[in-house]
């Protein structure tokens, strides 16, 4: 189970994580893109962070939708619509929920991924966030299929996301501005993939914290 307060915690912790990794994400983007991923994400999630106190009495879907609107109106570029879409689609998968079962989380993750796939038209192996999100959803789905709980499924999802991120390092980019660097894009993890991995890792951290408290 994932509760509404945990969703709020996750968003706050992710905003902090992005702030701390702003320079790193931008550095990754400087290597293969236009050197603004960290700056853009931080601008968006700072707005989210400021907005969270106004969302404490909302259901999970409404929270995710509000986050989506904030991101798309403040990030810009390609990351704005991609993360905005992820949160928007995720929100539509969990309408009216105050708490999420593992099936709900799977639906949320799958809807977010589907949205990103549709919006960005990227495929596996293009060296994008899809290379991180897609194996994570698959691993989560498999764990749920094996009757694992949310925490264990998320642990497997994050492990798969980490492997997916590692696999972007030797890839040559095929989408986005990085693709025009051709072979020069080889040797770096994808910046969008990195921020996507952090998003899942932080969610896992929030779930594990609750477990420890028990």
């Amino acid at each position: 189970m994932v509760s509404q307060p945990q969703i709020l915690q996750w968003l706050q912790a992710y905003a902090t994580e992005i702030e701390q990794n702003k320079a790193y994400l931008t550095e990754l983007d400087a290597a293969i893109g236009d050197a603004d991923h960290g700056i853009n994400m931080d601008r968006g999630f700072k707005k989210v962070s400021a907005q969270l106190p106004t969302l404490t009495d909302k259901d999970i879907s409404s929270i995710l939708k509000a986050v989506s609107m904030t991101l798309i109106s403040s990030i810009g570029g390609a990351s704005g619509p991609l993360y905005g879409t992820w949160f928007l689609r995720a929100s539509t998968a969990v309408v009216d929920k105050q708490e999420l079962t593992e099936q709900d989380v799977l639906g949320l993750l799958q809807a977010g991924l589907d949205g990103v796939l549709q919006r960005g038209k990227a495929q596996l192996g293009d060296k994008t966030m899809v290379d991180v999100l897609s194996p994570a959803v698959a691993a989560f789905g498999q764990a749920v299929g094996e009757s694992k709980g949310t925490l264990e499924a998320m642990q497997q999802a994050v492990a798969a996301a980490q492997r997916g991120l590692q696999e972007t390092i030797p890839m040559q980019a095929k989408k986005g501005r990085a693709s025009y660097l051709g072979e020069r894009s080889i040797g770096h993890p994808d910046p969008g993939g990195t921020s996507a991995y952090l998003m899942l890792k932080i969610l896992l951290g929030v779930l594990e914290t609750k477990l420890l408290r028990k």
Binding site: G76, A78, K121
Partner: protein, 355 residues
């Protein structure tokens, strides 16, 4: 960098404020989010046409807001896509109940942000469609796009579709017309100098006094070839040949399907110009080239078209889709039919375009 700006970060806002003050009879300016809209909108029963994109291409798009053309324009930061909240609020402001057509230039950021805007407008009960413009024959993929970039044909589509909206066409009719204009238009540009983005303060690229860059886009992105400077006649010949000799171009674009209620891939193919075609010839300044030089380009363009048996029946010459103060020009040729000619000739009254 020498520019008539106060602070780089105030460039877009202060420019819009001056424009709104100068044309208060025609347009209004909204902040938070930023968009420019027709003072008399919404107009019940008329489809509203909205466009937008990065700033720095003036008068496109805000200069084309008014009677017979755009209902609203959403400017982004310099050379940066606007965001969907701007497009959504603009749609709410100008929707007269007959829906919105978003005219979108094919750049990754613009495409994704306008797609989101279309979905958001629909989720709020505003019927909306978007049509992509991808007419730049210079590149297949560019720094900013999958496929060809959207350039000069964009404003021709805005004029023609704006007239159609005024004439009472419904939303699917205007979307079809817009698609048809895109499929019949081709553009290519050339730069003599770089532009300087205010926030950066230095020229985007370096060109020596003896070099020109062929096939540039409107953001100072690289062209296809850097070459020794040539005469205007030679440059015009290169640009025109690129348009006339462009082979059939097939690609997949994404459009909203109202019946299915989802995005669908649409296969589209441009057909080459052929002898006897009636053309609109558009010679555009990139911002820093005076009209006298554009006329020298037009002189040669008209000669080539005549030799090829192509009939220029309408023309447009001047700075319409610019790249800050860049010196250079682009040529757009659009194959016209009777309906397009009628709509082209229809009255228009905007800040920067009127007849």
């Amino acid at each position: 960098m020498k520019k008539l700006i106060n602070k780089p970060e105030d460039f877009v806002r202060e420019s819009l404020e001056g424009m709104a003050a100068a044309h208060s009879d025609l347009i209004k300016l909204n902040y938070d989010p930023t968009f420019v809209y027709r003072a008399d909108a919404p107009i019940p029963g008329k489809v509203a046409i909205i466009s937008g994109g990065g700033s720095g291409h003036e008068p496109m798009h805000a200069g084309f807001v008014g009677k017979g053309m755009l209902y609203a324009a959403c400017p982004g930061e310099v050379f940066t896509s606007p965001t969907p909240d701007q497009m959504l609020e603009a749609a709410k402001q100008v929707d007269g109940g007959s829906g919105i057509l978003y005219i979108v230039k094919n750049y990754s950021g613009d495409v994704m942000n306008f797609e989101m805007a279309t979905e958001l407008a629909r989720s709020e009960g505003i019927r909306s469609l978007n049509i992509l413009i991808d007419d730049d024959v210079a590149v297949k993929d560019s720094l900013y796009t999958q496929g060809r970039r959207g350039v000069g044909t964009t404003i021709l589509a805005e004029k023609i579709c704006g007239a159609a909206a005024e004439a009472g066409y419904d939303l699917p009719q205007i979307a079809n017309l817009c698609r048809r204009v895109n499929l019949n238009g081709r553009s290519m540009g050339i730069a003599l100098t770089s532009c300087t983005v205010p926030a950066n303060g230095t020229p985007t690229f370096e060109l020596s006094d003896r070099e020109i860059e062929l096939g540039i886009g409107i953001h100072g992105e690289p062209g296809t070839e850097r070459t020794a400077i040539k005469s205007v006649d030679e440059i015009t010949e290169i640009l025109t040949r690129s348009l006339l000799e462009d082979a059939p171009y097939s690609r997949t674009l994404r459009e909203w399907d109202e019946n299915k209620g989802e995005w669908v891939d649409v296969e589209l193919t441009n057909l080459p110009f052929t002898k006897g075609d009636r053309l609109l010839a558009f010679v555009n300044s990139m911002g820093g080239t005076p009209i006298s030089e554009l006329y020298i380009v037009y002189r040669k363009l008209a000669q080539i078209c005549e030799q090829q048996g192509l009939q220029i029946v309408r023309n447009l010459i001047g700075p319409y889709i610019t790249s800050l103060e860049m010196q250079g020009c682009s040529i757009t040729l659009l194959k016209l039919d009777d309906e397009m000619i009628r709509l082209w000739d229809a009255p228009v009254k905007t800040a920067s375009w009127r007849w």
